[in-house]
């Protein structure tokens, strides 16, 4: 556990427990999950029960109790994307990666997530890979996109 890193995050929010959700988001971004010993440390530092920290950790979708992959793939399953075939896009991605929704590849490279609306509905169906948006992405093109990403990553 890197205490210096946690302290930096805590300082950013003045150690104010009102910002517990933001603090956990920063931890999640840094560690790619919320390690239990770290949640305990935060509870102590902020003077809140561990139960409150874990309630948040399991309530909000942004958090994960297991490490997420190096790359996060979010397939939008919002209504606009749904009527344009988003579930077929998710299936195609899942076939290409060999993992189901919510899972991470064995080499810890990719996590596949279904999310509800990333706010780019005008170019549905939409897939977001590590904060980069890809619009008008039909199933076939999405499979190709992942195949290319994996090939480039392997280099």
């Amino acid at each position: 556990m890197d205490v210096a890193k946690i302290d930096t995050i805590l300082r950013k929010y003045n150690g104010d427990s009102d910002f517990l959700i933001e603090i956990l988001q920063d931890v999640q971004a840094e560690w790619r999950y919320l390690p239990v010993d770290l949640m305990r440390h935060l509870a102590d530092e902020l003077g809140v029960p561990l139960a409150r920290v874990s309630h948040i950790a399991t309530f909000y979708k942004a958090f994960s109790l297991e490490p997420r992959g190096e790359h996060e793939i979010q397939v939008c399953m919002g209504t606009a994307c749904h009527v344009k075939g988003a579930s077929r896009v998710l299936d195609a991605m899942s076939r290409e990666l060999g993992i189901g929704e919510g899972q991470t590849t064995a080499d810890k490279q990719y996590t596949l997530e279904a999310v509800r609306c990333v706010g780019a509905c005008g170019v549905a169906p939409v897939v977001v890979i590590d904060d980069e948006y890809h619009g008008d992405l039909m199933p076939d093109a999405s499979a190709k996109l992942i195949a290319r990403h994996m090939k480039e990553g392997a280099k």
């Binding site: 309630h55 309530f59 942004a62 509905c121 948006y133």
Partner: protein, 626 residues
């Protein structure tokens, strides 16, 4: 940094207007999320490079703006002030625009939008039907300001309404204009903002506690991006609206609760807040007056229910976002038990214009008679995200009372690929699906509710005849069962049970009595849920049952999916149009398609997983789905 005060705001605006007038043209490149997905940022860099290369930086200013609205045609560039509109741009087009249009004076016609029927290029943005029927209030600065530069907001009269209120008006004068405007909340419920503010003030009087104002930017409605766009396009209009609200009710603290899925909006909002602080428009003694107010951002962490007011308050205090019973309203006891005014992004964005132009002006736009009672109609405009199976996808702002048909066929350009209109979904997961027979109804709060849907926050998802309405109901129920916080039983169990029945129907295992069961459980949820998430969860089911009952019957009685969507009820075959191009065979993920070059292919039904890719890639309409 010059601090802005009553006497120099006008000069700051004029200075910026002058600076901009010094350019021969301004090149407004859309950097909204839709266009960014089509590489708008690299286009922006490229355009700057082409201009610098020719030493034209003094003549032409390149600005990255928020969403232009016409997302389906992105990336987009508008040349101002002449208003020439370019769409679907590629990197290589930048040099052409600079050479032919900016230097040569001849706009590039083949990069323009074309009229759907005549196919003629349309030069000016305002002449494109998508734009010409719109009326902009909340989005008045869209594509015209640089969201990351506060001076550009000054140049558009920004913060003038606040200045006038602080200098010449009073909290009461602001409240009176908002009351007269009859502005109803744009976040879903349509509660009159003026009434809400007034009851908050009454609570302050009673309790002696200091009130707060909150902006709801959680935008949970899937398929909607109005709030995101307003913040990414013109963040200061939201800040100015909140300042005016805070002044009216006497708040010193304000919060914006924004979902973390909108990183660009968060960044732009942070920048706007820090620029406003630097210029003395937030903080102590705003513009030299004795009014002090500041705004703090809270980022949500992915939970639909957090858009609900009591859940949102819990989340802002750093807790799980579970709603609480509403015996006591937020206006009396909200954030940290203080009187709280919660309004939606778009509601706040309307406030500066209402204070500037007057409540009467605003109330004259829209439907009904609101002169005595804000519930008497729907005043003003509404921003919709017009998406789904429609030619012109994007963001539109139209006057209340316009018909669905005008929005979908005039503004939206109708249904693509020669398909038929089937339904339009409004109101998000609490809303419903409306059929063609209601296309001529006016769009306002009360008509939509009567029709079994609701206005909601402004998602408008158009569906063509290849949509299955039972599948749509199932889609929403899947969403709601995942998003139900689980605190109350009717919602937690009801959504799961409804989903189970819908899943059974769509997989061809529906039985007689399923529909009665759907209706019965819906009634229980309506009556017994703790918050509106559960109480309105049945709307997508009940509205599709009301208008598309025959589709349910087809699934249950004939095991047939009329929209040809439900996998268990369709098969893919190849017809005689097939010329053996082999594209489908190559792209089929399970190698289920066989056939020689130039000969008709066949699909092995045992291998087919019904992914539909063959149908997507076939250029010859050779795939039948039955």
């Amino acid at each position: 940094m010059t601090q802005i005060n009553f006497s120099n705001l006008g000069a700051a605006a004029t200075a910026e207007q002058k600076r901009l007038a010094g350019y021969k043209a301004m090149l407004m490149v859309c950097t909204g999320t839709g266009c960014v997905s089509a590489k708008a940022f690299s286009l922006l860099d490229n355009l700057k490079e082409e201009i610098s290369k020719r030493d034209l930086d003094k003549d032409f200013l390149v600005v990255g703006t928020g969403c232009n609205g016409f997302c389906g045609q992105g990336p987009i560039l508008v040349v101002q002030p002449e208003g020439v509109f370019y769409q679907r741009l590629k990197k290589t087009d930048m040099a052409r625009i600079v050479e032919e249009h900016l230097i040569g004076g001849k706009p590039v016609e083949d990069l323009m939008h074309r009229d759907l029927s005549s196919n003629k290029p349309i030069h000016k943005m305002d002449d494109i039907p998508f734009f010409s029927k719109q009326k902009l209030i909340a989005l008045r600065n869209k594509g015209l300001v640089d969201p990351e530069n506060i001076d550009s907001y000054f140049a558009r009269n920004g913060y003038m309404a606040l200045k006038e209120a602080l200098e010449k008006g009073s909290p009461k004068s602001v409240l009176d204009e908002v009351k007269t405007s009859a502005l109803r909340g744009r976040g879903g419920g349509g509660f009159p903002a003026g009434v809400k503010w007034a009851s908050c003030m009454a609570a302050v009087e009673k309790t002696g506690k200091e009130p707060v104002v909150v902006c709801n930017a959680d935008e949970g409605d899937p398929g909607a991006f109005m709030d995101r766009s307003i913040i990414e396009t013109d963040p200061h209009t939201v800040l100015e609206g909140m300042c005016l609200g805070a002044y009216a009710i006497g708040a010193k603290e304000g919060f914006v609760y924004i979902r973390k899925e909108y990183p660009l909006a968060v960044t732009r909002l942070e920048k706007a807040i820090s620029q406003a602080r630097d210029r003395g428009l937030l903080g102590d003694g705003i513009m030299g007056s004795d009014f002090s107010f500041d705004i703090i951002i809270h980022r949500g962490a992915g939970a639909f229910v957090c858009g609900e007011s009591t859940a949102l308050m819990a989340s802002m205090e750093g807790r799980a976002g579970e709603p609480s019973p509403k015996y006591i309203h937020n206006v009396e006891s909200g954030y940290k038990d203080r009187p709280t005014v919660l309004n939606n992004v778009e509601t706040w964005a309307n406030i500066p214009v209402i204070v500037d132009k007057g409540g009467k002006w605003f109330a004259a736009i829209g439907t009904g008679d609101v002169s005595k009672d804000p519930w008497g109609g729907s005043s003003g405009t509404k921003v919709f995200s017009l998406v789904g199976n429609i030619n012109n996808t994007g963001l539109v702002e139209v006057p209340m009372g316009i018909t669905m048909r005008e929005i979908i066929f005039d503004v939206g350009g109708g249904i693509p690929d020669g398909r038929e209109f089937k339904a339009v979904q409004t109101g998000g997961p609490s809303g419903g699906c409306l059929p063609a027979s209601l296309l001529d109804e006016p769009v306002d709060f009360d008509t939509l509710t009567r029709a079994g849907s609701m206005m909601g926050s402004g998602g408008m998802i158009v569906m063509d005849d290849h949509t299955c309405m039972v599948d749509v109901a199932k889609y929403f129920m899947e969403f709601l069962k995942d998003e139900s916080c689980g605190k109350c039983n009717p919602c937690r169990e009801g959504t799961v049970t409804l989903y189970g029945i819908l899943d059974r129907i769509t997989s061809g295992k529906g039985v007689k009595g399923d529909i009665d069961e759907l209706e019965r459980i819906s009634r229980v949820m309506e009556a017994g849920s703790l918050c509106q998430l559960g109480a309105t969860a049945c709307n997508p089911v009940l509205s599709t049952l009301r208008y598309f009952r025959e589709e349910y019957d087809a699934h249950i009685d004939e095991k047939r999916c009329p929209g040809k969507v439900c996998k268990d009820l369709i098969t893919f075959t190849i017809n005689d149009e097939c010329n053996g191009c082999m594209v489908c065979a190559k792209r089929c993920p399970t190698n289920a398609i066989s056939g020689e070059k130039k000969a008709k292919h066949t699909i092995d039904q045992k291998e087919c997983i019904k992914c539909g890719i063959c149908n997507d890639v076939c250029k010859y309409d050779a795939v039948n789905v039955e």
